[in-house]
Symmetry: C2
Subunit: 355 residues, 2 copies
DNA sequence: CTGAAAGCGCTTACAG
DNA sequence: CTGAAAGCGCTTACAG
């Protein structure tokens, strides 16, 4: 063995070795291993014994080359370091495992080029299907996927105009409940930290917020809206912008948890007590963030169900069916980051004094 | 095409199609595509044109079946939902990508059985190598990896007695600095929330803490130590235990960030102000947690460097070299969760009053 | 129920 | 520089 050949190919035992050890043909060995009923009890015993003794592992490459199935699902998420996508990766991976598939997890880093390069890899590896949180406008590698008719499912995000089933969350209800909750507490100036409008979720949640605001009789106010990119740092900047207004909001809705964490950090620097001096509601229910100080009032979107359903839809497509897209509801979960506005209390008093 | 066959195998174009379209043999087409210099300029032009026109993608399965290389690295982490491992997965994945490898990311969920089943999958897929944060005692599938001499690198954690290079962090320095920092602030009762002693990091950090305590002249006190499992919930329980002592600690060191988050949550429920009423230092420097309230004083362990080095070592092994294990240093980073003990101030006054 | 043979899509000595 | 051929490890009609 030369050093160039590497180390892991030594003494790899093949189905030929198993067949020889069992005293049967390769065909018979293959049938026994595959669980094909067209085998005699004797053959089963002999082959199984050989498999065990030699510690044989079928070469998946060769298997899938013949059967044109890889039992692999590609899972491409926007950002592994975002807890929402980590949870999604976890639940989808687990559902795939239960169905006998292994998951190739990829990370697009919220970048279209990395998404495309990973998709190309998945195409080359002939994965049986792809679950992804798509980024961009549906050109590039995403278009290749569709053109090649690879089984694919969009999850969380979608791209309009592409014939790809999706599992998404309808933010309408949850965001309406959120705004109603805040208005019910007495808030009149509610800020919004938006996700990027280049994503379907960014657009959809923004529309829901605008509709909820109108439904609750609040005025349209462009100053009450700041834009972020679903990362924590942008939440800091957006909150900074909102709190610097001459008349700042008394409550803020953030389009995802990570930006909400940034917003909390901002209020802390300004010595504001979240949940007392200012209220905050975040989209996404991240288990970890229930332990934050204060625990976030959130709009829950059931990330585990999304991952599970995305895999279920994909398996349907792989089996030749044509599943419908699924839209899940969202719901407000009240915790400690929302309270009555400080308006009637100390905060407005302070403002009075400052005049 | 029957529905059973699925959808994605239709009109998959192969190297034969490319060769035919270019008017050359399959061998020549293969050489051009592989960048083999033994090709004529004319052949290169014709084949490249055919590749582009047909949008040809080589079948990785077939390639690796012949070449016995898969250009795939298996990356198995203890828990994708733990931000430390998410960061590790990100940095290792990025380093692998830069070296032309794609990463198969797997999640052991801190469970030996899931680790083993994933390792089996990786063996079957003939990945070129494995980077993992090992769990358990080195029996089961981990032993198979070693026996088969598959290129493998342990990262963060190790298993003693196995001939597998590793990239780990030496906690000695960082934990000593942490204890010195606390003692310098005036703390005399320092609690410790330990990781599981079934992991190498759990044992190593515990030894470092015990040594630092002795070096700083603090007494041994079994009551000052609580055990966790590197998950947030266990941090809550451990902190609860420590704060319920007749004479509770004024400062606590937690063996990882997630348990520290749990500890913060616990103090909040008890109306204690972290960084004033009680001090906390956590192992692991998670970027996200710098935004927490309060921002954590941490023992930094450079997770990005660990991921990068683990891939570098693995590539060395794949190339037939025999790299040395790497031990990285740790270092204290002081932020806002540590301060002078409340002993001389309100807390002990309160205790006096309670008597 | 079994075995010999063909073939999945590619790469790589081998001869020219 | 090129092509015909063998073969990577497996599965699957085909004939018996």
């Amino acid at each position: 063995m030369t050093s160039h050949e590497g180390v892991n190919e030594m003494d790899m035992i093949t189905i030929k070795d198993v067949a020889a050890a069992a005293g049967v043909s390769v065909s018979t060995a293959s049938r026994v291993i595959a669980g094909n009923p067209a085998t005699s009890p004797e053959a089963r015993v002999k082959v199984q014994a050989a498999v065990d003794r030699l510690d044989y592992r079928p070469n998946t490459q060769a298997q899938s080359l013949r059967s044109t199935r890889t039992n692999t699902i590609g899972l491409l998420v926007s950002d592994v370091r975002n807890p929402f996508f980590a949870d999604l990766a976890h639940s989808a991976g687990q559902a795939a495992l239960d169905a006998g598939y292994v998951t190739l997890l990829g990370n697009a880093n919220e970048r279209t080029d990395q998404q495309d390069s990973y998709l190309n890899t998945l195409i080359q590896r002939r994965v049986d299907g792809i679950v992804m949180t798509p980024h961009g406008d549906g050109s590039g590698a995403v278009a290749d996927i569709v053109r090649r008719r690879m089984p694919a499912v969009f999850v969380d995000r979608t791209i309009e105009g592409l014939d790809v089933p999706s599992v998404t969350t309808d933010s309408t209800r949850g965001i309406l409940q959120a705004v109603q909750h805040l208005v019910g507490l007495g808030h009149e100036r509610i800020g919004y930290i938006s996700g990027p409008l280049s994503t379907s979720t960014g657009r959809e949640r923004w529309r829901s917020f605008a509709a909820a605001r109108t439904a609750c009789g609040l005025p349209e106010d462009a100053q009450m809206v700041a834009s972020g990119d679903y990362q924590a740092a942008s939440g800091v900047a957006a909150m900074e912008q909102l709190l610097s207004l001459p008349v700042p909001p008394t409550a803020v809705v953030a389009a995802d948890s990570l930006m909400a964490v940034g917003a909390i950090s901002c209020t802390r620097e300004r010595q504001l007590h979240m949940g007392r001096d200012i209220s905050l509601i975040a989209f996404d229910d991240i288990e970890l963030f229930t332990l934050l100080n204060p625990s976030l009032t959130v709009i829950s979107n059931n990330v585990n169900e999304m991952g599970r359903l995305a895999i279920a839809l994909l398996l349907d497509i792989i089996d030749g069916r044509d599943p419908e897209s699924v839209v899940l509801p969202s719901e407000l979960i009240i915790r400690s980051s929302t309270s009555r506005p400080a308006t009637a209390g100390t905060a407005s008093l302070n403002q009075e004094h400052a005049k």
